[in-house]
């Protein structure tokens, strides 16, 4: 192979760094950075889950004295709720599936040695880390963590301590943390897009990229556009809070018997800017999960993905429409009812590409030979959850129906199933699937199965009843139900959900045990334990510092060539030279 010799002769000096700090702390290796992101998200998810544990304890038994915590006050509840939402959305759902798995596997899957800008990549992680540290610091300042929710609606979030506990220093740290996070995300997404566009190896056409790469790529575009807007909004909010400007704060407010010295600002302006970011953020959380699930489903169905191009266009359509539907969060906000109609119809049309995805996932399973390993269980669970959570969105997308359901627990159930749990199932599928590649050892399969069944049944037991109390009109963000009469009847449902939550949370300990156990004791695996086709399964487990040791693979076909008739095995890896008639060359024929 003359061309390979040519490539080898020009191998970029990409020596592995020596010394612990350069190798594991301030590393520029995309794989180490990916693992750093995943570890950060793992810490964050347990912090966030612990906060939800406290909230569920309080909701089920409002008068319970929680050990080391005491009786929970309403402001403590709201602080837990705000931090739970913020930590989960930013430091888990945005961090793990995109920055974590994406960093580790995007370069390998397109046959690159590293990200386009390794130093920027490192900075991006450490900005995220700093942002997380600042966010956690909000717990420890006077007044405690902010109580304005993860959406930080103005004026509650803009007025300072006078509007309530946690809205002083805590809220300031919140805004600063989010601004740092924006910077980190912009650096990260710029890196992802450039890498995908410029560093694909020979033959890796756009329409030969694994669906994971497509998902990370499109997610990065959403991040590049969305976080820029959130940063602008955050700067204006900081100025309103500390420099006396009135971008968002209107005049004539009386808060705690004090006349607020601002005038003319528009609270709706904050909502528009926030949700212009906030709605794409939902897709930032779920698209990588969709990519991972498509990848895993095809691999374990031993069958090409059904309608590869349709899947790609569905991702693009979801992302594009997703940039234009932020107003459906604001049907009851006082926004023009005419624009609500436009936002509603656009939102309903997102149902179409989402339905394509579901249809194609089931189409992939049709006529398959399904292997039920833990990654596949979570991928199948994702499909079920995606259907459930997507359909409840059809209710909320209609302003007419949203009149009743807006800001009730129905909404909480909807976004937890689709954006929270489904996205986390995508991460679990990714973890069980790629752990062998990342660490050279398989995860314990029995524990994995147990973890899946407890979690799958558990999350449905938590979140299905949550729809029902929403139907009964239970408003969200209520620390307790004592003041409103019609809520008393719903208390047993709260207790049921809390118990389901405790079981589900306990099941996550199994996951961590499995992670730790497998790191040291897991069965050693070879290069390609799942008999998969994409490039990450052509390098050693774990991959060396420069992935391909300078011998970049060439790609000859689409990513999901399973069960090819006449092929010697039931899978044909992307990098194998033409071995059978051209009509089987790939998805792009």
């Amino acid at each position: 192979m003359a061309s390979e010799a040519h490539a080898a002769a020009h191998v970029h000096v990409h020596e592995a760094p020596r010394g612990f700090i350069r190798k594991y702390i301030f590393s520029t290796d995309h794989k180490i950075i990916g693992i750093q992101y995943i570890l950060l998200a793992l810490v964050a998810v347990f912090v966030g889950m612990f906060l939800s544990l406290l909230m569920r304890l309080h909701l089920a038994w409002p008068s319970l004295e929680i050990p080391f915590f005491g009786l929970m006050t309403p402001e403590q509840y709201l602080a837990l709720m705000t931090m739970h939402g913020t930590i989960m959305v930013f430091f888990v759902l945005t961090t793990a599936p995109q920055s974590g798995f994406g960093n580790f596997f995007l370069p390998i899957q397109i046959g690159a040695a590293d990200m386009a800008f390794p130093v920027l990549n490192m900075l991006s992680f450490w900005f995220t880390f700093a942002s997380f540290a600042v966010m956690l610091a909000a717990f420890f300042v006077s007044g405690g963590a902010p109580t304005s929710g993860w959406t930080a609606y103005v004026p509650l979030s803009a007025l300072g301590e006078v509007a309530g506990p946690g809205l002083g220093a805590g809220q300031t740290l919140w805004v600063v943390s989010i601004a740092i996070f924006c910077g980190a995300s912009l650096m990260g997404s710029l890196n992802f897009i450039t890498t995908t566009l410029d560093l694909r190896t020979r033959g890796m056409l756009l329409f030969r990229m694994p669906l994971t790469v497509w998902a990370w790529f499109v997610t990065a575009i959403l991040m590049l556009l969305g976080f820029a807007v959130l940063l602008a909004a955050g700067i204006l909010l900081l100025l309103d809070r500390h420099a006396g400007t009135s971008f968002f704060i209107p005049g004539g407010l009386i808060v705690s018997d004090r006349l607020i010295d601002h005038k003319g600002g528009s609270p709706l302006l904050w909502q528009h800017l926030f949700w212009f970011f906030g709605h794409p953020e939902v897709y930032i959380a779920i698209l990588p999960g969709m990519g991972i699930v498509s990848h895993v489903l095809s691999t374990f169905a031993r069958k090409p993905i059904f309608g590869y191009r349709a899947m790609v266009f569905a991702i693009l359509a979801i992302a594009m429409l997703g940039l234009g539907v932020w107003g459906h969060h604001m049907f009851m906000s006082g926004m023009s009812p005419y624009s609500a109609i436009a936002f509603s119809l656009l939102t309903m049309s997102i149902g179409v590409p989402s339905a394509i995805k579901t249809f194609n996932w089931i189409g992939t399973l049709w006529g398959a030979r399904i292997r039920f390993a833990p990654p596949m269980l979570f991928a199948l669970g994702f499909v079920s959850l995606f259907v459930t959570g997507g359909l409840s969105g059809i209710f909320l997308a209609q302003p007419t129906v949203d009149i009743y359901l807006h800001d009730t627990y129905f909404v909480v159930a909807h976004f937890h199933i689709i954006m929270g749990v489904a996205a986390i199932f995508g991460m679990f599928a990714g973890t069980y699937f790629w752990f062998p590649k990342m660490f050279g050892r398989a995860m314990h399969e029995g524990l994995g199965r147990l973890h899946f069944w407890l979690t799958f049944i558990g999350v449905y037991a938590i979140f299905m009843p949550m729809h029902y109390i929403g139907l009964a009109g239970h408003p969200r963000r209520y620390p307790d139900t004592t003041a409103v009469k019609f809520l008393a009847a719903l208390d047993p449902v709260h207790t049921f959900m809390s118990i389901a939550a405790f079981v589900t949370i306990a099941a996550q300990v199994l996951f961590v045990l499995n992670l730790v156990w497998s790191l040291w004791k897991g069965k050693k695996v070879g290069i390609n334990p799942w008999e998969a086709t994409t490039l990450e399964w052509t390098v050693p487990s774990p991959p060396p510092h420069d992935n391909f040791a300078g011998h970049y693979p060439s790609v000859y076909r689409g990513p999901y060539e399973y069960a090819v008739p006449g092929a010697p095995q039931d899978f044909v890896p992307q990098h194998l030279p033409e071995a059978e008639p051209a009509r089987h060359a790939g998805a792009d024929d």
């Binding site: 370069p107 959403l222 820029a228 602008a232 909004a233 204006l236 003319g264 693009l316």
Partner: protein, 215 residues
């Protein structure tokens, strides 16, 4: 809100680059999948511009909404100094282009000279902006005086910060040149810096018109 769709962004990125992957398997397109590929800096800068544009569009739409919704918008006269600053910045784009052409024509001395003139004009612009701020402060127009002044300080401030980044990039390229960096890398750095600098000039003209309209 104004902005580009994802596909438009992609087209933006794909415009003006050599055809790639056209031959299917086997065509390298002159690129290797390592971070040492110079093309990534040009792609990266275009993406950064998309993001910066989005950031400024968010602020612009905030200005339009804030101005349209309220009755408390009090116009103030922009300091005439701004027009001189604008002239300096536009001139810097011209000198940068001259430098770029000198480089392409293989006249390194002219390239160095015009590059330095560009940097000086950039510094002059920033100093002028600072003086404009000082004039406004002296006239009693502060950040929180009125939404019109708030937006003036915010827009000029964040634009100035971006321009400061541009000056750092200009200086960085100047130092690299002394270290006799390899030819393609220097060329890429020059191209990337130029794209960024021209963008900031254009952005400033847009912001100036916006501020003039919303005085």
């Amino acid at each position: 809100m104004a902005g580009k769709t994802a596909v438009e962004e992609l087209e933006l990125i794909d415009a003006g680059r050599p055809p790639r992957d056209s031959g299917g398997a086997g065509d390298f397109g002159g690129r290797r999948p390592t971070p040492a590929v110079p093309q990534v800096y040009v792609t990266g800068i275009w993406l950064a511009l998309a993001s910066i544009l989005m950031f400024f569009m968010a602020l612009t739409s905030a200005l339009i909404v804030r101005r349209g919704l309220s009755t408390d918008w009090v116009p103030f006269d922009l300091p005439p100094l701004l027009w001189w600053n604008t002239a300096a910045l536009l001139a810097s784009s011209l000198t940068l282009e001259t430098a770029h052409r000198a480089l392409a024509a293989g006249r390194p001395l002219a390239y160095h000279r015009w590059w330095n003139v560009t940097t000086a004009l950039g510094v002059l612009f920033l100093a002028g902006q600072w003086m404009a701020w000082a004039q406004l402060r002296a006239a009693g127009v502060y950040l929180a005086t009125n939404p019109s002044s708030s937006f003036f300080y915010v827009l000029t401030g964040v634009h100035g910060l971006h321009l400061l980044g541009g000056i750092v990039a200009l200086l960085y390229v100047a130092t690299r040149r002394r270290r006799a960096a390899p030819w393609p890398v220097e060329r890429t750095a020059v191209t990337a810096t130029s794209i960024y600098w021209h963008f900031l000039s254009g952005l400033w003209v847009f912001l100036l018109l916006l501020l003039w309209w919303g005085r």
